[in-house]
Amino acid sequence: MGLSWMAWTWPTAAFFLFIAAAIATMGVWEYFVPGGAPRRGAFGLDTTRGDRLFITLVGSAFIFLGWLGLFGTPLWGGLAIALAWAGFVFWKV
């Protein structure tokens, strides 16, 4: 049985590799610079670094969907907002 039914494409593979790399980076980061304990940030939430990655990724998904729904492709504007969102989440939340 081949894997043709999974219908892999390079862009979707890159997407999953990016997520895997992000999670792996979190591990490396925590190993060299420990500091993953929860902290109280904006919105009054106690978040660990992993929580912040989760909030960033889910938030970015909605940002891209919102951009796609409102302005369509290309998604550069959405990417800029998502990066700003990631910066905000890791810095303040």
Binding site: A7, W8, T12, D46, V58, L65, T73
Partner: protein, 287 residues
């Protein structure tokens, strides 16, 4: 906070990880792959980019199904959670009636979902069903096969009948875990029934109620079998919830690309709402 010392314990998680990989990650990855391609079968795929996502986001059919889904979910939550708590409060805490109540409560949960749909379909039929006959005999014009309002009423009644027990059992488990000392202290202070509920029982039930709300939210947002058997999404499209619409799109029309894009948006909504529910309900606990 101290760091965990024994990292070997992580290896015990491996079997679960492998299992989850096969039943969750691989199907999810496949759906992501399908969502950016078009296929006419035979495992031949053509790159389509983000066109299906744009289609779904602008689809009035999707918007309507989403509104129906949210209406359904928040209606049953608003009924099942308070009703479940009230029933749990009235259940006996000790004696012979405890097992009788618990088993009776558990019965609806044991019935297969398609059977629940079939039971309610027959029960509510206006010509032969007990509910349909009684309502029509009382002079209420009730026919869930052609009145959207009646279909919604039957759908919600069916879900409340099927799932309130789960909330009852969880809330009851929370209630019986409260030590008697709390009630004795409340009695000494002369607390009213409402004060006992508000300051002792409700806070003690918070964790189990969080689980109840999350389970009922996710389950009702995914609900498929019961409404499919009961109304088939009709009359018209009036009870076509998201999952029924998704199956029509994926298997009825074999539009795998749009169906995959819709599944991902559907998944993201459930993920985000579950996280928000969980965070809001656990936030006060941590303080």
């Amino acid at each position: 906070m101290n760091k965990t010392v024994n990292h070997k314990a992580w290896f015990l998680v491996l079997p679960v990880l492998v299992l989850v990989a096969f039943n969750a990650f691989i199907p999810l990855m496949t759906v992501v792959n399908y969502s950016v391609q078009e296929t006419f079968g035979d495992n031949t795929f053509f790159w389509a980019g983000l066109i299906w996502f744009e289609d779904v986001l602008h689809s009035e059919r999707f918007h309507a199904a989403l509104v129906r889904q949210l209406t359904f979910t928040f209606t049953i939550l608003a009924i099942e959670i308070p009703l479940g708590v009230v029933i749990a409060l009235t259940m006996p805490k000790r004696g012979i009636w405890v097992p009788v109540c618990l088993v009776t409560m558990a019965l609806p949960l044991l019935i297969p979902w398609n059977v629940v749909g079939a039971i309610w379909n027959i029960f509510a039929l206006p010509e032969i069903g007990l509910l349909g006959q009684v309502l029509n005999g009382l002079g209420i014009d009730y026919n869930f096969t052609r009145q959207p309002g009646a279909a919604w009423f039957t759908l919600i009644a069916m879900d409340v009948w099927h799932w309130t027990s789960l909330v009852v059992l969880l809330a009851y488990a929370g209630l019986v875990s409260i030590p008697d000392a709390f009630y004795q202290a409340a009695k000494i202070d002369g607390a009213s029934t409402w004060a006992i509920f508000r300051h002792i029982q409700l806070p003690k039930m918070k964790r189990v109620l969080t689980i109840a709300v999350l389970l009922r939210f996710m389950d009702s947002f995914n609900i498929y079998t019961e409404p499919f058997v009961l109304t088939g999404g009709g009359p018209g499209n009036s009870t076509t919830l998201l999952s029924i619409d998704l199956v029509k799109l994926a298997l009825g029309q074999f539009d795998l690309g749009p169906a995959a894009a819709m599944s991902l948006i559907y998944f993201l909504i459930i993920l985000a709402l579950s996280w928000i529910f969980y965070t809001l309900m656990m936030r006060d606990e941590e303080r």
